[in-house]
Amino acid sequence: MNQASASADLQTLAALVPTGSRVLDLGCGTGELLSYLMRERGCSGYGVELDDANVQACVARGVNVIQLNLEEGLALFADSSFDVVLQIDTLQHLRNAEVMLRETARVGRTAIVAFPNFAHWPNRLAVLRGRMPVTKVLPYQWYDTPNIRVGTLRDFRALAQRNQLRILDEFGLQEGRPVRWWPNARASRAVFKLQRGS
């Protein structure tokens, strides 16, 4: 992803978060999105991050960050203690992705989940050609990818239903722009806004 589309993606995701929300950002990286939400949308909250350098980067930005392995769950966080829980490009790294999805919905009144969409047409084409895709959104070779969960918009919809999560909104993201027509083929990233209770 180039800088411009990354920052456009960030703004699109940020726009899903109501002004003044209390936010928990799971796998918050360097705290860029949280920092943006605090600055531009008057939000407050915490990031959760495992990587030492990212934790330090969050602290340096003035973003509250809790160093925690998400595989250990969210026991630190009380039910419905956040307006919005973000899982941006986190799900694909999690062994317990389904448990974490439930936990995300438990802790937040709303959940926003974004992940690489494996059904994006260049990925389909690569697989048709007999090779795993290597793209801007999925830049790794199959043998060293940290993305241990690859799925599609339709896959995620099924998972959400299975866990009694209500989908408030879903769309794709491509080059910084939301894709609402046939996103499962036309967008490299999937975005869902969810709530407990089907």
Binding site: V59, N64, L76, A78
Partner: protein, 384 residues
């Protein structure tokens, strides 16, 4: 640039009422300061010390001839000083020796101002809260209304936590390293073994050994040896000492690996522990050891709230940085997470770093780039 430290002392005439109901009559507190208090008086950072440290936090001492005194670095000199993670070019840092300690502030080896007798075992029992009250009085006298931050590790971290509860309006930030909301039973047990070692030393004389011209050094040595084991991790001890035998000239002949002695030193770890014990017994006061470990045992801010730590921290207004170390089994990450949870439940600003360091509890005094970088970044964000 070398930071030169100058110990100072402040006398307090007004008695200090203690949690126990007793009070300390007139007393002195030893302290040091580094850097300059700014015009707004809002850049002060108080450093709280743990069991065997003092007000000499940073810098070095000069001898009578003005020469650098060798090995006189403050106990947190790697963390605090000009250009260090807690930068004394920006902050006015205060180190204070706690009441009951043995490094200058009034303690058991001093004389009661009225009776003229050495306190010994009669020095009143102290709590973390008592220390914080005494520190607050020192700040009053230094003209500091509000701290930019209070910082401490281990027992020092407990004092930092207590500051945010006792004087919530006087602390903007708390940096709490390798600490806990209270001691576990196992931790109290270690303290009790150490105390029994001291108290049962025939030279202890019920805590009035000063009158007898002796020191309960055997007890202190054993107390320190036990303590030292718990400050390290199994891995770091194995790495440092393993099963290495202490080299004895002419001893290691083929086929005879050991000296076959039960009382002499055989392994390097034994030699190390005895050395640490000997060193400690030379400078540390036995009654101080009892008092400080007891203060550790008593600390438990949740107790007054039915054991509910979140309710205890409802009073806190500060922003927090908590740090723990993965191999610290004396003040484990689990205990720091309890604190994080209590702060999250109160929607306080908190950041938490869990450093994967091999050094056990001692890690809080060592240089780990991940640890120092987080502390540095945090202090960089403290606005003045």
């Amino acid at each position: 640039m070398t930071l030169i430290a100058t110990p100072q002392s402040m006398h307090f005439e007004q008695p200090l009422a203690l949690a126990s109901g007793a009070s300390v009559r007139a007393y002195d507190l030893s302290y040091e300061t580094y850097g300059q208090l700014n015009a707004q008086r809002n850049n002060a950072v108080l450093i709280c010390h743990a069991l065997n440290a003092s007000h000499h936090v940073a810098g070095v001492y000069l001898d009578a001839q003005g020469q650098l005194l060798p090995r006189s670095q403050g106990w947190w000199d790697n963390m605090i000083g000009p250009g260090k993670p807690l930068d004394t070019d920006r902050f006015f840092v205060i180190g204070v020796n706690n009441l009951g300690s043995c490094f200058g502030s009034t303690g058991p080896m001093h004389r009661h101002p009225e009776t003229g007798q050495i306190y010994g075992a009669d020095f009143p029992v102290l709590t973390v809260e008592d220390w914080v009250h005494a520190q607050a009085r020192l700040l009053d006298r230094l003209g500091i209304e509000q701290l930019a931050a209070v910082m401490g590790g281990s027992l020092g971290g407990m004092q930092a936590l207590s500051w945010t509860l006792q004087y919530p309006e006087r602390v903007r930030h708390a940096v709490v390293v390798a600490s806990a909301p209270n001691l576990t039973a196992e931790n109290i047990a270690f303290n009790e073994v150490a105390r029994r070692a001291i108290v049962t030393d025939p030279d202890f004389h019920g805590g009035h050994f000063y009158r007898h011209g002796v020191l309960p050094k055997r007890g202190l040595r054993i107390a320190r040896m036990i303590g030292h084991i718990t400050y390290l991790s199994d891995d770091v001890m194995n790495e440092k000492f393993g099963r290495e035998l202490r080299a004895v000239a002419g001893q290691l002949t083929a086929g005879r690996p050991y000296q076959f002695t039960t009382q002499d030193i055989e392994f390097e770890i034994e030699s190390y522990l005895r050395h640490q014990g000997d060193k400690f017994a030379e400078y540390f006061d036995a009654n101080t050891y009892l008092l400080i470990t007891r203060a550790l045992d008593y600390f438990d801010p949740a107790r007054a709230h039915g054991g509910d730590l979140a309710r205890a921290f409802a009073a806190a207004r500060a922003q927090f940085l908590l740090v723990s170390f993965s191999t610290d089994w004396r003040f484990s990450p689990k205990r720091s997470r309890e604190l994080v949870k209590a702060l999250l439940d109160n929607q306080r600003d908190v950041s938490y770093a869990e450093i994967d360091a091999p050094h056990g509890h001692d890690a809080f005094l060592l240089d780990d780039p991940r640890y120092t970088a987080v502390v540095r970044s945090y202090f960089d964000r403290v606005s003045l």
